[in-house]
Symmetry: C2
Subunit: 353 residues, 2 copies
DNA sequence: AACGATATCGGGAACGTTCCCATTTCTGCT
DNA sequence: AGCAGAAATGGGAACGTTCCCGATATCGTT
């Protein structure tokens, strides 16, 4: 296939022994000198060994090293799907964080189904990962309990079950900020596309919504809070439903950007405009939302921080009970999809002329 | 952290030897009986061994197995970024395909920079991957030549350099189909946002455009072909420029969906509409485009097929010179972002009334 | 210059598996 | 019943590394 530099000799791997012989030292010394975890020596021998290793084209056999060291330095990540940009962002962030301690992340997808989740975890464990990062946690997930019982090291990311080690964003605060922003813009009838109730993210963000409403002395119209999945279509359906009411909301908080994108499409299909007829706020601040033709207000989540925290939790020896759930702070990114009630009226009047 | 089932004994791994002792057979037999590559035996011993292994909670030490077998069954994938949905789709497809032969895919990102690409490849090779799948190929990429010289097994995906083993889509055909579609809709002034010239995908799709134009007896206005990156912003800029001309195109072919999404935004920012003022066609058919508020016409690419072919190329023993580049067929997905020139005029007239 | 402390070095035993090969057991046939 | 051939079994040697530990070299101190 690709021309092999040493075609004849099949077993032509350069081992640590070859390097040792060529450098005139013992294999132990080569191993030590080439061990990147030890403080780097610059002695004459060290330099010679490194040079010779390079010349010979030596690369450490990672399997042998792993076997002896008793660790693979691989972390497994389980996500619903990678085509969801949020998950791709989490993965990239985790990869960056893991690289700092020489680890690598391998990922498996579950399509949000529990059976696939079990398969994914078994697959990753079979691959020798040292720990699992789960972004698929469901409230009262029996699978997570199983993991704990099996003695698997794991941490939840983004979503939590309230008990396991977790690294999440402050979703309640995020929901609060989003809602507060809409209230500040004088919106009173605010719809919520609330996501699935099995995800802590969705629940907390909705909780933040309620908190902001209560704090402003507004009563929540429960019929304006509609459940959904995290998919675009679901956002579309929910928004269609909301905006077809006799008295539609003047603003919608979607607990996730995909939902918001779907809502956005639905609203336009109905001949209405964002933000002219209804303001829209999303969540996660995935790259695309700031590039839509109406750049979308969204809640920014510090994925890098969440990823680092997750790994820290995995590496920590002892953890205080009150530090089992690390929470990162989100921040609101106001953009053009949300404007004040007054401006909305004005822009609608202009069209009416 | 997590309660360990055998807290006292640190070195409490269940090995094949433990299973052998418990089952009263030799370790060789256990190894053989548990080898999933061999035809599955259902003899009495086999069943007992499997049962005992399960009871004891035995899991094969993958590092030891890899060391002995001399293979890691890991494939490395190098992509610019995973937050680009196209790349996420390729990754998921590759993972699915690799799983069929018990392999796992680990991915590294380069952000489209050659230095990071080198680092990524070294990292993956150091991790012991058996082969590399590159989705980052540039025309005349010195790095790829290096890989070949180092004897690294690799295959290019999506983009090709014209020489290496590659599994790609028929981009010229895709560009042709997109353009032909627009011509059939009576468009004559067609703009192209052509992507970066270092990517074979971009070049071929543009070539397909030219072919369709030539075939229809239309002369190509070179000033309507503008280069770009693969980013959303770049599509926005390019479309802004195109639509600000004194004589703007009536249709635009963007060689990638992200570009198209940016173009879409730009067109609306200018107070124009898709498809009312200008038809728009993208490429790759990422999930979001069918859910935009104007569902976008795009060229669908069979990623699963491209992924399988890539792996087949890696596994093939001998490859005919004319089979070094496998080409998968794209198909046009017509949606509402592209309509006939006549309908455009009509809808514009309506607005003018 | 002699001594103890410290750093460097090399031999060899793991790590847990697979796989070769010699041996034993089973199967079918005459 | 006897025997050839097939199938199953077990002993033991790898695979390439790391790491313990005893031995040797190096250094600073008195």
């Amino acid at each position: 296939m690709v021309k092999n530099p040493t075609p004849s000799n099949r077993s032509s791997r350069v081992t640590i022994l070859d390097v040792a012989r060529a450098a005139g030292v013992s294999k132990s010394s080569v191993s030590r000198l080439l061990d990147e975890r030890l403080p780097r020596s610059n002695s004459e021998v060290a330099q010679r060994v490194r040079r010779i290793a390079k010349e010979l084209g030596y690369v450490r056999d990672i399997s042998a090293a792993n076997l002896r060291r008793g660790s693979t330095s691989m972390i497994g990540l389980i996500v619903p799907r990678l085509t969801d940009t949020v998950m791709a962002m989490l993965y990239e962030a985790l990869q960056r964080a893991a690289a700092k301690s020489g680890k690598v992340v391998i990922v498996a997808t579950t399509d949000e189904t529990p059976e696939a989740e079990r398969r994914a975890a078994d697959g990753l464990i079979g691959r020798g990962v040292e720990a699992l990062v789960l972004a698929t946690a469901r409230n009262d997930d029996p699978f997570i309990k199983e993991l704990a019982e099996r003695g698997v090291k794991y941490v939840l990311a983004l979503r939590t079950d309230g008990a396991s080690l977790s690294s999440i964003g402050n979703d309640e605060l995020g929901g609060y900020l989003a809602t507060r922003h809409l209230i500040d813009l004088n919106h009173r009838r605010i719809g919520v596309i609330a996501g699935p109730s099995f995800a802590s993210t969705a629940c907390e963000r909705t909780k933040g919504f309620r908190k902001a409403m209560a704090e402003a002395g507004l009563t929540v119209d429960e019929s304006l809070i509609v459940p959904s999945t995290f998919g675009i279509e679901s956002g579309r359906d929910a928004a269609t439903e909301l905006m077809s009411r006799s008295e539609p909301p003047t603003a919608i908080f979607a607990v996730n950007d995909n939902i918001a994108i779907g809502a956005f499409a639905a609203i336009h299909s109905l001949g209405l405009s964002v933000p002219g007829d209804v303001s829209l706020v999303g969540y996660n601040d995935i790259p695309i939302v700031s590039h839509l033709y109406t750049p979308m207000t969204s809640v920014h989540v510090p994925f890098d921080q969440i990823a680092s925290s997750a790994l820290e939790l995995l590496e920590a020896e002892e953890i205080q009970p009150d530090e089992r759930i690390r929470v990162a702070m989100p921040s609101l990114m106001p953009r053009q999809s949300s404007i004040s009630r007054a401006s909305q009226k004005k822009s609608r009047d202009q069209i009416a002329e």
